[in-house]
């Protein structure tokens, strides 16, 4: 697997055609960074998984930035040596997002960790169910 720069160029172009976001290929730091809207993220990850062989989710991280959460996904492929770093923002007032566990199985673990730290609910992940859904408010004692 060699770091052929033209493959990274084609990939950046493909990402732009598919979701309309600019993919920044940094040749010196050897990575491709994309800022994605949260509605297009799962589509982008699925596209990278199926068409470009980005089968590995190396890292998923969440950080607070002002009134938003920044979620970072780092993907790698065995065919291309350049990793893709996809970032999206979530508003703190609506901390709900979709899970990517159906694409990357190991994402369930990362999402569980993010849920325990920040309280972001990932829809589709059974471990990150909102507290009030798990413990519905009822009138009296629940039947066991």
């Amino acid at each position: 697997m060699t770091g052929r720069y033209y493959e990274a160029g084609f990939l950046s172009h493909d990402i732009k055609m598919v979701i309309g976001a600019e993919a920044d290929y940094n040749q010196s730091l050897k990575k491709i960074s994309v800022n994605v809207r949260k509605e297009s993220l799962t589509f982008l990850l699925d596209f990278l998984f199926t068409k470009w062989g980005f089968n590995y989710l190396l890292l998923m991280q969440c950080r607070e930035e002002g009134d938003k959460y920044r979620i970072t996904y780092v993907l790698s492929s065995r065919k291309i040596s350049v990793p893709v770093i996809a970032e999206t923002f979530l508003l703190k007032s609506v901390p709900v997002f979709t899970t990517v566990g159906m694409i990357f199985r190991c994402a369930y673990g990362y999402e569980r960790e993010i849920y325990s730290k920040f309280g972001i609910v990932f829809e589709g992940n059974p471990d990150t169910v909102s507290y009030y859904v798990k413990n519905p408010l009822t009138g009296g004692e629940s039947d066991e």
Binding site: K31, L58, L59, Q61, T72, R78, C106, E113
Partner: protein, 369 residues
Amino acid sequence: MNRRYPRFYYTPSREIVNGNVQIDYEIENGRITNPFVYFGYDRVISSADIGKRKYVEAIPLVSRMSFADKHTCEELFASSVEELNSTEVPLLAKHLRVLILELSRISAFFLNVFNISSALKFSMAKSWSLSDMKRVQKLIVEIKGSEFYSPFIIPGGVRCNVLSKTMGLVEREIGLLESKLNDYDSLLFQNELFRIRTSGVGEITKREITEFGVTGPSARAGNVSFDVRRRLPYEIYNEIKLDAAAYSFSNVYDRVLCRRNEIADSIRIIRYILSNIPHETEFINREGYSSGLLKVREGTVFRRIEGVNGEFVCLMSSDGSERPVNVKFRSPVYHIAGELLSKLIGRNSIDDIDLVLASVFLIPMEVNL
């Protein structure tokens, strides 16, 4: 909801898993069902603690993030800073870094053999591997000239040069260890009892390896050959040819055998370094350090290094000041320690829990980095 079966709690000893782990499970018809693995609060330093400090203050703390992969963490941190600053590392420092990394890989192999021998109650292999691990750690301390936990790989190079008499000591010790590998072969790998006990146990399928992103010896033993040193060479690994053996299934036997074969590689790399070490005296490039601070240029970098258990990664963002904006480390143990470990335990019988846990070389303090 009434439970049909009681829930059992099992805490494997620290000789088997290198930290605090608790497993709770149910038993149905002699098989384990619904296992869940809890990782204890072994973590001393995490990425968040590193991110709160200045770069120069974080250097000694990075060494304390893991006791088995400590040099990998140091190398990740140092190389991330160097990549952002475009710092040229002296050739001598690159050789010394690889020397320390390979020695820590050898030390981790002996620790793994210690874990497996503890699980199987093979006392001879247990005492041999413990003494050999201590031997290699003393050698590392001798090279560093300081404590085991003091940083050696720092941004810009290494902390100190190595004396020629220490290099002579390294050569002697490596010769001794190489001859001992034959003893380990006859004790373990050619031992029919060991082979019967470990073959067919704790198998990870190729599909699970790719699905969960498992890397390192656990993946290579399942014929998913991915080694960061070969695919994305760093330091002087582009000059070194690494062997790639083929294995059949990633069971306990193949995982230990894979580690043993890679130690032969590590010994060859150390011999290469000893014969090709440059005759220079400069071991650190102090560019970026000024008035006791280390300033890092703006940018985001993502580094990948082959650790003891697989691919260790680090994401670092900087805004040009002496403090990082974001630092996140992720250990290869994380991908094994989640759902995959519960599946492995559920698939094997109660007698084999210890063996399965020892063979994946769990390091609980690395799980929540």
